[in-house]
């Protein structure tokens, strides 16, 4: 079986769930080989199906933006001739993918929500135009480079060799153009990451600037908190939590929109969610066209009651 290179995202050494999802998807195509920059918990990669683990530990990968990682991954593509290259569809993942694809003269697909392999032929599924269309696409040149969105597969534990192999690559000076001079890690919220969460509870204009009820309900469900553009533009919630066309695109099992009218801007970021629930005072709000269940009412009274009810049921 041919190798499939899987770029692993492991901030602070901890392998992310989307990275494990990629290993599961890679096994549909061939034998997964994980590619890890820096130190990471490599044991978990073997537990989720990585036969080989290429580890690149040079400091250059954390001192400069993107380009050195792309050079190294392209070198691995040249050496190993993989059947495909899978990367997380994050901002950095997509940039690495773009440079690797061009260097390798391979077609690139970003934001895939599913990848299937039939014999030698790999087909991706993407959701486009604010989630209004589903597109099936194939790469017609080179080994496909595919950036896959979080929640595209359930990670399957399967024991594989997980053999670690240290790899060193000479990175060119040209790749050392954008130097990272400082990195300030944001304070962890203790909640799941927005794009990876199974449940997202979000708030909009209807919160009036106070997210207390939204956050409490999210915490009762173990959910991530999101915000509409209106709430973010008003300075009520940080931009990194914005769900929508110019923010995050999420596709959780459950999305709960509170005090959000459901403008196209917002819908583009959430309408592929499996189940959608909304609470809004305005019964004419367009969000109600999308919902599986809706409550016409004030989130300030509905959410606290719902929070208590969840707590009661969970005991």
């Amino acid at each position: 079986m041919t190798e499939v290179l899987v770029l692993i995202d492991a901030p602070d050494g901890k392998v992310t769930k989307p990275s494990l999802e990629l290993l599961t998807i890679a096994r549909r195509i061939g034998e997964p080989s994980a590619v890890v920059f820096g130190d990471a918990d490599t044991a978990v990669l073997g537990e989720y199906g990585a036969e080989k683990i290429y580890q690149l530990s040079d400091a250059v990968y954390s001192e400069f933006l993107v380009a050195p990682k792309a050079e190294a991954l392209a070198q691995l593509v040249a050496d190993k001739s993989p059947a495909a290259v899978l990367v997380p569809s994050s901002t950095e993942g997509k940039e690495i993918a773009a440079r690797v694809a061009l260097k390798s003269q391979s077609g690139l697909i970003t934001d895939a929500v599913d990848v299937t392999a039939d014999g030698g032929s790999i087909t991706t599924t993407q959701s486009v135009f604010a989630g209004n269309f589903t597109v099936a696409a194939q790469v017609t040149q080179g080994a496909p480079v595919i950036a896959v969105k979080p929640n595209s597969a359930a990670p399957e534990a399967v024991n594989a060799a997980g053999a670690v192999e240290a790899v060193s690559v000479d990175v060119s000076d040209a790749a050392k153009g954008a130097k990272i001079t400082s990195t300030k890690v944001k304070e962890a919220s203790g909640r799941p990451e927005l794009t990876e969460a199974a449940i997202v509870v979000s708030g909009g204009r209807g919160t009036g600037g106070d997210f207390t009820e939204v956050e409490a309900f999210a915490d009762s469900l173990g959910a991530a908190v999101g915000a509409s553009r209106a709430a973010v533009d008003s300075g009520w919630y940080p931009h990194s939590f914005q769900v929508g066309q110019t923010g995050k695109v999420v596709s959780p099992q459950l999305y709960v929109a509170n005090g959000i009218s459901g403008a196209i801007q917002h819908r583009a970021g959430m309408q592929t969610s499996k189940t959608i629930v909304a609470v809004n005072k305005d019964e004419e709000a367009p969000i109600f066209e999308l919902v599986d269940f809706g409550v016409v009412g004030d989130l300030k009274t509905v959410l606290p009651q719902a929070t208590e009810e969840v707590k009661k049921r969970k005991g």
């Binding site: 690139l108 790749a175 990195t183 609470v279 599986d292 409550v295």
Partner: protein, 260 residues
């Protein structure tokens, strides 16, 4: 003296009913187009850099005849001159071919210092063209900039990521993509609209750029859309009005779906 090329895209209006053509490419005929909203932020930032010192802003677009509207809007905002690359062979080009045309056009401009992009287009939205152009030009790219400061030869950029805020520095030629968090883009003033009419716009073809028509367009894309289908409309769900029990009913629904 800073010369900034801002690459912009003419896109179908995101609030219209966007769809596909018979050849599985984005339908650009049946829908009104405009300068991509996200590119306005790039134009704005370029204007601010130049206004803070000295320099000029050249706006560049690749697209059909109507794409001239996108150039005009940027000129009305205050850009100094425009370049419109138009060639029938370009239709249906993927991100790779588009990046080649852009890179060749930027090389033809020659004496530029910086290249600005919006963070992504509002239609295809891959967000990879800035990186691909940088790769082709052999330049570093700093994407998703929230704040840009130009100090002589050095460009300092702040990036607000999900887990961390980074400060990045680069010297020499550089490709930058800017987010919608950089600050409101200005509206063209009446004076700006009048002045734009006299600003020079060059029209280039693939031959002017030395790009082989056989290397771009739909037939030369490295990816192929096999099929597309509209997402099935969501079936109308149950809507209840809160009569003091809205929260309980909501949780009842969640429990029926096994979320609680």
């Amino acid at each position: 003296m800073t010369k900034i090329v801002v690459a912009v895209k003419y896109v179908p209006d995101a609030t219209a009913n966007r769809t596909f053509s018979a050849d599985n490419t984005v339908d650009r005929d049946g829908v009104d187009g405009l300068l991509s909203e996200l590119d306005e932020y790039a134009v704005e930032q370029a204007l601010q850099v130049v206004e803070a010192g000295e320099g000029e802003v050249v706006v560049l677009t690749v697209g059909p005849a109507d794409a001239a509207d996108a150039v005009r809007k940027a000129l009305q905002m205050g850009a100094d001159s425009g370049i419109h690359v138009e060639d029938d062979a370009i239709a249906g080009s993927d991100a790779f071919a588009t990046s080649e045309v852009l890179a060749k056009a930027i090389e033809k401009v020659g004496d530029y210092d910086l290249v600005f992009f919006g963070m992504a287009s509002t239609d295809a939205g891959m967000g990879v063209v800035p990186t691909l152009v940088a790769e082709r030009l052999g330049l570093p790219a700093v994407t998703y900039a929230s704040e840009i400061t130009v100090d002589g030869d050095t460009v300092k950029i702040r990036r607000d990521g999900d887990v961390a805020t980074q400060e990045v520095e680069a010297t020499g030629k550089l490709v930058v993509s800017v987010t919608d968090q950089t600050g409101e883009a200005r509206y063209p003033s009446f004076k700006g609209i009048m002045a734009a009419k006299k600003k020079p716009v060059e029209e280039w073809t693939l031959a002017d750029l030395g790009v082989d028509a056989g290397s771009v367009g739909l037939d030369n894309a490295w990816t192929k859309v096999e099929s597309f289908e509209p997402r099935p409309p969501r079936t109308a769900g149950e809507i209840v009005t809160d009569e003091g029990d809205g929260g309980a009913k909501l949780v009842e629904f969640l429990a029926s779906k096994k979320f609680v």
